[in-house]
Amino acid sequence: MNVNWFSADYLPWLILFFPLLSFVIIVLGTIRNVVASQVVAIAGIGISWVLSMILFAKAVWLADETLGEHVYGSAIDWLHLGANTFRMGVQVDPLTAYMLLMVPLASLLIFIYSAGYMHGDPHEARFFAYLSLFVGAMLTLVVADNLLMLFIGWEVMGFCSYSLIGFWFHKKSAMEAGVKAFMTTRVADVLMLVGIGYLFIMTGRMEDGPGFTLSFQDILRNEEMLKFLVNAQSVIWGTSAATLISVLLITGTVGKSSQFPLHVWLPDAMEGPTPVSAMIHAATMVSAGVYMIVRMFPLLSAGANFHHFEYNTAMYYMGIVGSVTALGAAVLAVGQSDIKRILAYSTISQLGYMVAALGIGAWVAAAFHLVNHAFFKALLFMASGSVIHAMEHGEHHAAEHGHPHEHHEEPDGLVMDYCAPPNDVNRMGGLLHRIPITAITMAIGGLSLAGFPLVTAGFWSKDEIIAEAWHGGLWNDPYPLFVLIMLLLGALLTAFYTARMWFLAFWGKPRTPAAQYAGPGWLRDRWVKWWNKQPFSGEDKLEQEHADPVTNRSAMLMEIPLMVLSFFAITGGWIGIHKDIVGKNPLHDFLAPTLLEHPEVVPFDFTPMLVSMIVALGGLGLGWWLYGRKPLAAGQTDPTEAALGPGIWKMLQNRLYIDILYRNYIVRPLERAAEKIVVEGIDRDTIDASLESIAEAAIWLGEAFKRFNTVVIDGFVDTTVEGIGSFAGWFRQIQTGRIQQYLLFVTLALLALGTLFLIQVR
C-alpha cells in the first residue's frame, strides 16, 4: 500500500497521532524533566495545529460543494464480522474541518498558558502528559468516521477528565470532584453505548443495506437507511428505532455536555487546575457532546420536517432539555461568588443554547455557536485563571507588607456553597490596575459571551439561534415559542452575570489586601504610565512596582494566549453573519454540504436581532447599574443578594439543592440499598447461609475422605515421594554448574537424535 501522508486523505491520522505521541514520549521518557515535557507537549499539539490548518485551508479553498459527499478520509479493516467488515477510519467533511479550526488552536493556546500557570507544580510533566492525551482523544473524536471510534475518543476523554479534575488528588474535594464527574458522565455514557449497539444491530437488519455499520457516511448520508430506521419498530412499544437510538445518543450528550439533569458535575470540576477547566469546559470535552449530536443530526431529526415546524421526539427532547438548561444555569450563575463557578454555569447555559438550537433544527447555528463559544469561553476561563493566580500572589505579597495572613478553613470534601478565597469575586475589586491585560481581554470575552451587538462573535451566533426560534415562534407553534422565551431570558441573565462578574473583579477599589497587592500582570508598568497621563484619572494616581522576572515570565505566558483568543472571540463571528446583511454567509455555504439535505437559511428578520440587542444591552446595563456605577465597597452586601433576599440567595449558592437532592435521594439510598439488599439480604442471609451449609456438608465429607486418605493414599504417595526424592538426590549430582559438561550432554543428545533421524529416514 502506498500512502502519501501528506494527501488530505491521510493527514487526519497524523493530526491525532502527534499529541498521542507526545503523551507516550512524556510518560515513558521525559516525565522527570519539566522543560522537556513542556517542549514535547507543545511541539505535539503545535504540529497537529499546523496540519489542521493545512487541512482546513485545503477544505476551504479547494473543496467545492461536494466535500460533504466525497469526504477526505481513509480507513483500515478493523474487524471481520461474517459477511461484512467493520472499518475504522478518519474523515474530514466541512463540519470536521470547522472543528479542526477551533480544537487544535484553542488547545495549543491552553498548552502555552499552562506552561505559565502550572509553573512550579511538582507534577507538571504528568499534567502535560494528560493534556496531550486529552487533545489526542478529542482529535480522534473529531476526525472519526464512525460512531465507535468517536466513542473511543469520548471515553478516553472521560478518563482524562477524571484524572485532570482530580489532578491535585491530595485535596479531598478535588478527588471527589473527579469521581463525581466520572460517575455522572458514566451514567450517560452507558446509555449512549446501548444506543450505539442498538444502532449497529438495526443497520444490519436493513435489506440490501450496507450491512452492520456505524460509519457516518453509511448511515447519515443514506436516505434509505434513515427511512428504514424511522419505520422500524423498536423494542419499546410505540417508538421507532430511530427515536430510541436518538434519545439514547442525546442522553450521552446530556451527560458529557453537562445538561440538566446531569449538569451537577461541571461546577465541581472547577477543582482542577484552571487550564483544565479551559480545556474540558471550552475547547474539548463539553464541545464533544454537542459535536456528537451535531454530527448525528440527520439521524436525530429523521422523520421530522422542521422546516415546516413538525418536530419529532428527539428534537423535543433536545429543545426542552437545552432551553431548561440554558435558563436554569444562567439563574444559578447569577448567585455564585466563585469566579470559576460563574463561568462553569455560564458554560452549561451556553451548551444549553446549542442543544436547544438543534432541537428546533438550527443546525448551522449550533455548530457556529459551538466554535465561537469555545473560543470566548477558553478565553474567559484562562483569564479567570490569571485572576486567581494574581490573587494568590496578592495574598503572599500582602503578608510581606504586614497584613496578617488570614486563615481559611478548607472543607473536607465537596461543600456546595464553599468558595476558595482566591476565587471569590467579593474579595477582589480594582484588579483592572493590577492585571490590565487580563482585565481587558476578559472584558472582550465577557462582551462576546453576553452577545454585545454587532461586534462580537457571541452576538452573531446567539442571534442566529434566536432568529431561528423566532421564525418558528411566529407561526404560533408553542414549542419554538417556549424555546425562544427561555433562551431570551437566559440571554438577559447571561449579560447581567457577565457584567456582575467583571465589575466585581476589576472595577472600583480593592476590597481585600490580597486584591490590593495582586499580580502584577504583564505590561502593568506601561498601563500605569498611560493611566497616570490621562486626565480622567484625577487624584487616582498609581504607583509603579517592580515585578520579579519569574512572575513576569509566567504572567506573560498566560496573557499572550489571552490576547490571541480575544482576537478570535471578536472576529470568529464575522464569518457567519446573515447573508441578507453582508451579501454572503461563507460559514453557512461551507457547512451546508455536510448534510444530505442542505439546511435552509431562515429569511432575515430585523425584529429578533433588535430583541436580542435589547436583551444583551439591557443585561449589561443592569449589571453596570448595580455594580459599575457605584462599585461594591468592602463589607457591603452584594446588591443582587439584597434584592433577592437571603433565602433565595442561599438557595442559589447551594445550586438549588439539586446536588444535595441527588446525594440524599439517589446516591445515599443506593448506598443504603446496596448495604441492606446486597450485603445483608443477599450476601449474608442467602449466599453466606447456603455456603455455610455446603461447607458443613463438605466438612463431614472431608472427614470421611481423611480416613480413606491416611490409610490408602498416603501409603502409596509416601512411597512414591520417597522414591522420587532419593532419585533426585542422586540425579542432581549431574548439575555441576560446569558449562562444558552441560555442553557434552547437549552434544550427546544431538548425536543420539541425529543417529535416530538417520535410521528413521534411511
Partner: protein
Amino acid sequence: MDITAEAIVFLLLSVLTLGSALLVVTTRNLFHAALYLMLALFGVAGFFVLLAAPFLAGFQVVVYIGAIAVLIILAVMLTPSVTRLPRIYNAQWAVNLALAVVFFLLLFSVLTPVVDDLGISGTWGANFTQNSPADVPASSVSDLGEALVDPQQYMLPFELASVLLMGALIGAALLVSPTARDDEDAPHESGQGA
C-alpha cells in the same frame, strides 16, 4: 577426481585449515593458538575464493581476521596470568575426544559415498551427486549486495543484524565498564569478609 591445479589448491587449503584448527585446540600457549586461529580462518577464506564467493572471502579476512581474531588476541593479552595453564584440558577431555571422533565418523559416513560404495547399506549416504560446481552468474556480488537491501529479500534480517551488533556493542561496553558493578560485592571492600 582428476589431479588439476584446483584440486591441488583444495588439498593444500584443507591441510592448512584442518592442521591449524587442530593446533588451535591443542596448543598450550593461548597466544599461539590465536595466531593459528587466524591461519585457519585464512584457509576458510581460501575455500571461499575457490567456491567463487570473493565477496565473502574479503569479508572473512576483514571481519574474522581483522576484527574477531584481533579481538581474541586482545583478550588473551588482557588476561595475562592464564596464557599458559598447566593443564589445558578439563577432566572430561577423553570422553570429548571419543565423541568428536564418533561424530566425525557419522558425518563422514553420511556425506561421502563411501558407505554406499562399500555396499554395506545402499541408502545410508546423503548421496550428494554434484561433482562439479554449477555456473555462477557474473553479477553474483552485486546481486548479493542488492539482495541484502531489498525489502522483498533480506532487508529485514539485515537491519536486525545491525541492531544486534549495536546491542552487542553496548552490552560489551557495559559489561567491561570499570564503574559500579565491579566492586559491588568484592569481599575485601564490602567489609564483610566472608
